[in-house]
Amino acid sequence: MSAHSITEPSVRQKWFAGALVAAYALITLLPLLWIIATGFKSSSDAIAYPPKILFEPTLEGYVNLFTAQTRQSPEYLAQNPPATWYEAIVHDKGMVIAGPSRYGERFMNSVIIGFGATFLSVVLGTLAAYAFSRYRIPLKDDLLFFILSTRMMPPIAVAIPIFLMFRNLGLSDTHAGMILLYTAVNLSLAVWLLKGFIDEIPREYEEAALIDGYTRFQAFMKVVLPQAATGIAATAIFCLIFSWNEYAFAVLLTSGTAQTAPPFIPTIIGVGGQDWPAVAAGATIFLVPVMVFTILLRKHLLRGITFGAVRK
């Protein structure tokens, strides 16, 4: 370490670095803040020009997002005064709530498919990476390259064969199909990332466990997995971000039962005019799980990125 130590940065350098980070943060966070803000605007505020920085917040967008509404005659509305705050919001527009929207369902689909694919990718990836790391496998390098090569073209390039395959196998618009697909796409990344992490774990730990009377599987579970936790967490985040955000295959292969949130959110626009606040509300809520997941694992993620870079 000491050989690579550098002098303490000067005050000016610190300011410069701080300003650079702040500028970068502003550029990346501004669209995000805009979306979150739009979710709390009224429909007219959302499309006002010049854009309104200060506005009166409303939950109209969120109510529209989660409910299906129908227009009613003024007489009907007068006879049925709103019972709750959200009914009141709808009422003011001359509408009534007819039932829940599809958003909740689609969101749950995203959760099932996103986390399912992440789980499967990490489990399979860890096992494969362990085997690649520890065993003498014939043609190991070729196999690893082959696995990596599945990432070399954009996944959507194989959209048509996959579409036909899914149709023939009855996997179109099913949770299992989407989980399989996202797992297949994620797996190459997972294997490569995890192999790197497992390579860094000294074999002696497992060998010690083998000699201490454990089987190889027990040694793997009790000694390797805890050591690889950091790498597994980092890999899980990458896999989840991909499967959560994936749009193209979701549009192509899902339309109903298994439709995820990304292809659903744009369809909100069509319901009752261009309802930007509802779209923004949908996007905001959609951000939450992946953000929470990342924040929970962020300690691991940071350690994961620098893992192996520094050796004692």
């Binding site: 060998e207 083998l210 000699i211 454990y214 027990q218």
Partner: protein, 365 residues
């Protein structure tokens, strides 16, 4: 505790042969050293005994049972790794208790045994500490604790002192030997440090390029090397080699070097060709009027003795002589060799010529 027998043990990694046909026996309760330079196959041999590598061919017998194909977990052995390999996510107590937990030993009994081992090794105050904060010596003690807690049939140690600082090494070497004497357990110890091997071992196997060069007690290996390699690898400074071409007859007690007669132990075979006259530095004496002479080119003062480097007609030579003998660079002195301690080698094959000195030692095969 157990006797370990290795028969024609061989290990190939692809086209590379790491160990070629080793055969030796480690007696019950022996402290046994596997010695050799790096890459000589000593660690591979140890790992095969442990079950961490499968032999390509050959047999490994532990306590009367052939275990060559058995997994490590079924051999009832303990292994101490050079880098300790303590489980980093567990504290000291859990590390030591791990082998007992795998046997399904009741918790109270595990606690008792771990406490006992901690007392033997002086680790009581560290039991609840994470292993990451421990010093090298303490880590080594924890690794030893994990090994002895189970009363295995034998201990296998792969350069266990290699990762320690010099000051700790000495102390741990003594502790290890004391621990071995107390437990009487068969121990196989891999090292590349010849001093460590001589210091601690009851028996030594010297390996080079996957071949067992010699097998015997430290004294035999030092005094009666079976090959040029052993003679050079053991001892600091190593044995002196004076190269010459000549003839040695069965029963001869001297050889001719540069027209000078030098004494040797009575030869037990006849040999003609390129020879090496091997003599340890401490068996070289300075005499004023000796006919075989050398010029002093350097001296190293070591306290009670000094190492004097000389240039002779047959090459460089080092002598270990008392520190009070005046030795000036540039001086030419007569040399006398203690003939009874001399080994002759076939210069081409490196094999020692059979003599009264080494008779019976070289028949290991």
């Amino acid at each position: 505790m157990a006797e370990i027998t290795i028969r024609n043990l061989r290990k190939e990694f692809g086209s590379f042969t790491a160990v070629q046909g080793s055969t030796f026996t480690i007696a019950d309760g022996e402290f046994f050293m596997l010695l050799g330079p790096s890459g000589c196959g000593k660690t591979t041999t140890l790992r095969m005994i442990a079950g961490l590598e499968l032999p390509t061919s050959g047999e490994i017998w532990i306590d009367g049972e052939e275990v060559g194909r058995k997994p490590a977990s079924q051999r009832d052995i303990a292994f101490v790794f050079q880098m300790f390999a303590l489980y980093p996510h567990m504290n000291v107590r859990r590390n030591i208790s791990y082998p007992l937990v795998s046997e399904g030993m009741p918790r109270a009994r595990v606690r008792e045994k771990v406490d006992e081992v901690a007392r033997i090794l002086g680790l009581e105050h560290l039991l609840d500490r994470p292993v990451s904060g421990l010093s090298g010596g303490d880590r080594q003690r924890v690794a030893l604790g994990r090994a002895i807690v189970r009363n295995p049939k034998c201990f296998l140690m792969d350069e266990p002192l290699g990762a320690l600082d010099a000051e700790f090494r000495e102390r741990m070497a003594e502790e290890l030997r004391a621990l071995h004497d107390r437990m009487g357990a068969t121990t196989v110890y891999v090292t590349h440090d010849q001093l460590e091997a001589m210091q601690m071992g009851d028996k030594i196997v010297v390996m080079n390029h996957g071949v067992v060069e010699q097998f015997g007690t430290p004294q035999d290996i030092y005094d009666k090397p079976a090959t040029l390699f052993v003679a050079e690898f053991i001892g600091s400074p190593p044995m002196n080699f004076l190269r010459f071409g000549g003839h040695v007859a069965h029963g001869a007690t001297s050889v001719m070097l540069q027209h000078h007669t030098l004494a040797i132990p009575a030869a037990r075979e006849t040999f003609h060709g390129d020879l090496v006259y091997g003599v340890r530095p401490e068996h070289v004496r300075f005499i004023d009027d000796g006919p075989y002479r050398g010029e002093i080119v350097a001296t190293e003062y070591l306290g009670t003795t000094q190492i004097v480097t000389l240039e002779t007609a047959n090459g460089a030579l080092k002598a270990r002589i008392p520190a009070d003998r005046l030795a000036r660079v540039g001086e030419t002195v007569g040399l006398d060799f203690n003939g009874a301690t001399v080994s002759l080698f076939d210069a081409r094959t490196g094999r020692a010529i059979r003599s009264d000195l080494n008779e019976g030692i070289l028949s290991h095969g």
